[in-house]
């Protein structure tokens, strides 16, 4: 069986994740740490996508345009209020990165079964960074949610 479909999917997903981080950064310029670090993390995903291009049969920069994936259950509470959209966006990018991390795990396992050490190495290099991306989004949520969820902003 070929790994190409999975590689292509992962390639597209990393591109989409890079765009997702860029979108979060652009949407939240006034949240300075979120803005700057999200842009740094977008670069990681672009690097992953470039490394995958060698194997996925796609050229560098050539990828399916994908919308940010739905997160399973829409978060009505967070979407309703403008001030909570930061929490919603962090939650979305966290779930997106988690999905990508899971894909890396599957790729790593399949590469091991197929004796493809170069793909195993790639997964070993990239997956820890994807996990750091998920941890970052979760860490931001941990710090920001008490204030944003419990103290109403004033005029």
């Amino acid at each position: 069986m070929s790994l190409e479909p999975l590689l292509r999917a992962l390639h597209d997903a990393e591109h989409a994740l890079a765009q997702h981080f860029e979108d979060v950064a652009a949407e939240h310029r006034a949240e300075h740490e979120v803005h700057h670090v999200a842009r740094d993390l977008a670069r990681w995903s672009l690097r992953h996508a470039e490394a995958l291009a060698v194997f996925s049969g796609r050229g560098v920069g050539e990828h399916a345009v994908r919308r940010v994936p739905a997160d399973g259950y829409p978060h009505a509470v967070l979407r309703r209020e403008r001030r909570l959209c930061l929490l919603n966006d962090l939650r979305q990018v966290h779930l997106h990165a988690t999905a990508v991390a899971v894909d890396w795990e599957m790729l790593s396992q399949a590469a091991q079964a197929l004796r493809r050490p170069e793909l195993q190495r790639l997964a070993a290099d990239c997956r820890p960074e994807t996990l750091r991306q998920t941890a970052w989004a979760q860490g931001q949520l941990t710090v920001l949610s008490p204030q944003l969820l419990t103290v109403a902003p004033g005029g």
Binding site: A30, H32, V37, R132, Q133, A135, W136, T142, Q147
Partner: protein, 816 residues
Amino acid sequence: MAPSRDRIAEPWGARTPYRPGEPWPVRVDSFLADGVQPADVDRWVPAASLLHSNGDAMDIAVRDGRIVGVRGRAGDRVNRGRLGPKDLYGWQANSSRDRLTEPLVRVGGKLVPTDWDTAMSRIVERTRELLDVHGPGALGFYTSGQLFLEEYYTLGVIAHAGLGTPHLDGNTRLCTATAAAALKESFGCDGQPGSYTDIDHADVIALFGHNMAETQTVLWSRVLDRLAGTDPPRLLCVDPRTGPVSRSAAVHLAPRPGTNLALMNGLLHEVIAHGWIDRDYLHAHTVGFDDLRAAVASSTPEVTETVCGVPAEDVRRAARLVGGARRLLSTVLQGFYQSHQATAAAVQVNNLHLLRGMLGRPGCGVLQMNGQPTAENTRECGANGDLPGFRNWANPTHIADLARIWNVPPERIPHHGPPTHALQMMRYAEQGSIRMLWISGTNPAVSLPESARVRAVLARPGLFTVVQDLYLTETAHLADVVLPAATWGEKTGTFTNADRTVHLCEKAVEPPGQARPDLDIFLDYATRLDLRDRDGGPLVAWRDPESAYRAWQRCSEGRPCDYSGLDHAVLRERGGVQWPLDTERLYTDGRFFSDPDTCESFGRDLVTGTPLGETAYRALNPSGRAIIRSAAYAPPHEPPDDEYPLRLITGRTLYHFHTRTKTARAPQLQAAAKEVWVELSAADARRLGIAEGDMTEVATARGTVRAAARVTGIREGVIFLPFHYGYWDTPGGDHPGGAPRAANELTPTDWDPVSKQPLFKSGAARLVRVAPGAGPAAAPTTAASAPLAREVPPTEGGRAALVTEDLSLRPGGSVR
């Protein structure tokens, strides 16, 4: 008669050379008001420096109930009698006619005088109302690096255990947060490993982004005295500017701003590649070496040259210098702390010492320096976004311990995340969820990045602002209530310098008018709020500095910063004493405060800043070793481009402190550096058609500043602005009335994700000439702002600045 010297012209005074291992000779500096002789002085009152972080010990001269001068303390371990210019002349600001002498409240848009009861009642009413309607998250406290230990501790107890708000930070966030963060990452806990006495023993001293000659003049005198003696140390200087440090250095690296981590990775690559490492030490006392080796494997001198703009051969020379040292002392300051990837870069200095096994022995030490005089105490007492006693907010046992000491239920102490840092508090205030901000002893309208934004936040109608200060600062102009505070010399308390030396600083004179010690103000607030412990007793059960200090001793006991052996009697008898009692250096036996149950922090991701958590920490470091943490270089967030082709860095000058509230009110200091300037290289000056003294406009995406040009030896492509100049002594008062001059009009709001320290030394700028100059820029000629042009007259203080330097004394005061 001891010789006298103009210490504006010669900031470091007379040389007293000494050789390795010898004690630093005594030299007693004194400066008295015009016409006052030593015999006229009624009393000498023990104190220490409050205008920089060195912690120089002095006596305040009192005559007829007024401060009339200062004298260095001969026997003190920190300065052995010496004082720097800011201490010699700065005391005059205490008696400035524009001290605040009564509380002010805003009535109909104007600040009008009132009494303490009215002012405090307003604050207490607003506090109660906000607690009832919005909860403790609506209250924020932003304090200083210049209050005393007892005041920080009391404020911390009020905020954390009384009100239950996590929003408490100090302006030490701007100067020392990265020092604390780097120590936590490497050693599991804050606490300065080294000692100033390491200068007496070192054969190589490496200064990483530390312009010691200007920021700690007395410590630099100590280095100069070693350099003037037999068998002097060799220096490494890492700084994009030139100055006394770079001129004394065997190797000077002037990297592109924002590339410190790449430079450090390059140095460590060479140290590892040449085997200049102590494998036994690494094996016995550290974790993480293999990760570091892999992380720096590609950081060759050539790669380093490309990224940092430093010649590969210089990288090799620097690595040979630190790699060949027998006793290496490293110091780190704002060049690293306020630059891109701040904590990651500072941590690599710790790694250099771990690799070389050079820690905890004479001459082998790391000094992650502080910027402000009492910065160490905000960190220890929990007023800087940490919990008191270096306790770990993520460790429930530590929270329970604090709850026991304070006799409150553990859930009252907010610990659902790290305490809120200053810039995040500003964001919450901007959004309106923080509705009351109590600012004590600091001036964010000038000192925080992006001044226009900060002014707008502080002026928000929905934000109730309390400002507690000595003068009507730019920030006080924007306040709803202004409280007049007493300062150094007018109140008693302790504080601790960058090498863990604690001084008792005693009251010498009465404060002016109705001004009150900060401690009394906080105690009054706690009493009026009727804050209680779980048994109904008063939460804050102390009434004066000594009882507050005793409460802190109990809180710190058994923690790394253990003050239990340092009571007032010991401090009075011995002068400066290090914590823990009689501990010159930490980590002498290769053991650290990094056991998972002891450590202050479980660590953070050095790139993203994400807390790593207990599970990961236990797996990495189960048995209390030092942690070698590595990180990859990432490009700065605002690189130069066509519109803004230069890199702007900001910093301080030798003669001023913070926003000049005190130093501009000392005539000798103000005259030495009276107006803002901008430094640029000769190459950039030629290209831009700018000559010494020309009026220029500096612009970034945030704003503009007008400043006279000073052409110096700074790296090409980099410009420097001093950050001291605001608007309180201009017609604008709290904002630019005419041409803007505050450096923070230009700086970006960006901070290190690990330490949350603002990155003042980042951002892209443009410089244009707007008018010819009427003469040279008003920049000092003595240090890093020294002009290339020969015809610029030297900075001098003249007769009014003559200081007595007595070289005849031995420690303890006996005449040789």
